[in-house]
Point group: C2
Chain length 214, copies 2
């Protein structure tokens, strides 16, 4: 299979949400690539290309069966099984992530929260109890957790990341604004909140300057 | 000027952070596109292409002057002036955003926080006092705020967005997982936390399935 672009995976999530709404409404059985594309702001050709990475879907002139395409996307994206995630950092951002409603419908669940602050350890965050980072490696290894979120201050991020990898974590979602030095087989996603905001402001035309430097 | 891609703006932010560190260390005066590319995980050609949208930088065989490139990026990205931002929603995510350290160095500052929950109104969030959404339009218009962040539940997002636009907001960073129906001149950035996590998990090889449907 060819390497699937990140943008394709992100669009599949959007297609999935739309198909789920359609399936709940239960008015139509099929949907064309044009209708699906229009609904989510992309072209029919893009919908077909995105799906073509994963096999053959739909029937020429008829479109996609809504329920079966929805089920396929669930399997492709892994929503049909629960993925357990560990979170490190029980600050505001960590608490927001534990309480975020969008993960569970996609089969993702934060099941452990760790912090090094003794004022936070043993506190409740949502339905979880914050545990000490000293117990982190042991617990993650025991539960066989492969995915973790880092929501700690910049200066603690590398130490936390190294411990996570030692405990067997293979995928890290890093909110700390710092590059992590980890073995190449570990997948890291850098969530850079400031750069999203820079883009938004730039795009809205307030930062549109042409600069020439000699 | 050609339309500048989002990925370019995001890389400029990364270049900027690296140049800032170099300037603080004050060991070298110049940097080559290769060194800059290596440091941030991209190619020399990409560095040159990204900068070429904004004019001519650097000197063949010598590289870029670190301080002047840093200053140019500050101007291009608008970091040299303060941009005031309004935040709607004083929940965990809102509080995390107010306390996020990465905005200020980029000239962005959340200066107002609004909520509709009377238990939150008048509470402190960081150095700010939460105000009622009933006062939102008046305050935003008076302060001439053009950029806003929506961190409210899905079902409240459209109403909040419409009020913001009525008050003169031109750019919205939306964390609610819902499409907003707004005039086309308003720029919207959808922050979809679940889809970042889906991509990370997919990429780490746990979701890599080939599916064929007849």
């Amino acid at each position: 299979m060819n390497e699937v672009p990140q943008a394709t995976i992100e669009r599949l999530v959007v297609y999935y949400r739309y198909l789920k709404k359609m399936a709940e409404r239960d008015l139509e059985d099929t949907i064309s690539s044009k209708t699906l594309g229009d609904a989510v702001g992309t072209s029919a050709a893009q919908v077909r290309k995105d799906l073509s990475y994963f096999g053959e879907f739909g029937c020429k002139g008829v479109g996609y069966d809504i329920n079966s395409l929805k089920k396929c996307l669930e399997r492709i994206l892994g929503f049909n099984r629960v993925r357990e995630i560990a979170l490190v950092g029980a600050g505001n951002l960590g608490r927001a992530l534990v309480n975020y409603q969008g993960f569970k419908e996609m089969g993702m669940e934060i099941v452990e929260v760790f912090d090094c602050d003794i004022d936070k350890i043993n506190n409740r965050v949502g339905r979880l109890t914050v545990r000490s980072v000293n117990e982190m490696e042991k617990i993650i290894r025991k539960r066989n957790i492969k995915t973790a979120i880092i929501a700690v201050p910049e200066e603690e991020a590398q130490g936390v990341a190294s411990s996570l990898v030692k405990a067997g974590v293979k995928a890290i979602w890093n909110f700390a604004p710092v590059a992590l030095n980890l073995p190449s087989e570990v997948v890291i996603y850098y969530e850079d909140l400031a750069s999203s905001l820079v883009w938004l402001i730039y795009k809205s035309g307030h930062g549109n300057l042409k600069v020439n430097v000699k």
